[in-house]
Symmetry: C2
Subunit: 140 residues, 2 copies
């Protein structure tokens, strides 16, 4: 079947996935990145239809940056890329789980996970140190 | 210090957490629930300020239901409650990670995790069966 204007990037066989996805009013779904090996939740970002299609087609995780208003190939500046191991969708189709192999660190602060602050013993505090200086990742 | 109208439910010592939270235009943040033992990501839901305060105060996870437009004490109908082990916040304060102890199943379909559909071998399909019938959880 020829591609149509409304589905330019649907990989063959994945029409069911895209039919099940429920994007929000901005055309986005939240996407959780989880370390496929250790199981740590690394970050939460957002994907649009094009980001999901590109990620599945290339095997390299691509998000949609709300602050930059464009596709964001994770690691395009820092080199800290994510390879997709498996994409999962939740029961009502409005959240995505990405099992990934993370190169280096996921967080722009130089920490492995973006979730490095927690409430412990009734106090909100940092629980993980940077593994690399941000200047090393993004230039001085 | 006496509580103020704008911060009726801030537990003592957690002002830093609430100052770091960045709610969206609807007053919500996405919250990932992860099994504190096995590491499985169970679900993604939403929390407002009151849901976070209640969860921290009681140790039982409370979300904000967007469909019902009210606080949703997870398991209030099904009995499948979540006990909070730890609440974490991401680097920019707009996503929450809840490490939880899940009673029974997290998904209303009777599956342990809401993320029971995946793309495998280029095909979008179910990867986990229900462990309990939904009618058992919610009545016939």
């Amino acid at each position: 079947m020829a591609p149509t204007a409304s589905s330019p990037a649907t990989p063959p066989g994945l029409a069911d996935l895209f039919a099940a996805l429920r994007f929000d009013a901005a055309g986005l779904v939240p996407a959780i990145a989880q370390d496929a090996e250790g199981g740590d939740v690394l970050m939460l970002a957002w994907m649009d239809r094009a980001a999901i299609a590109e990620t599945l087609a290339t095997g390299r995780v691509c998000y949609f940056s709300r602050s930059r208003d464009r596709l964001w190939r994770k690691g395009e500046t820092s080199g800290q890329i994510q390879r997709l191991v498996e994409l999962r969708l939740d029961c009502d189709g409005d959240a995505v789980l990405l099992l990934v192999t993370q190169t280096g660190v996921a967080c722009h602060t130089g920490r492995r996970s973006c979730f490095f602050r927690a409430v412990r013993d009734g106090v909100f505090r940092e629980i993980a140190p940077p593994l690399v200086a941000p200047e090393t990742l993004y230039g001085g």
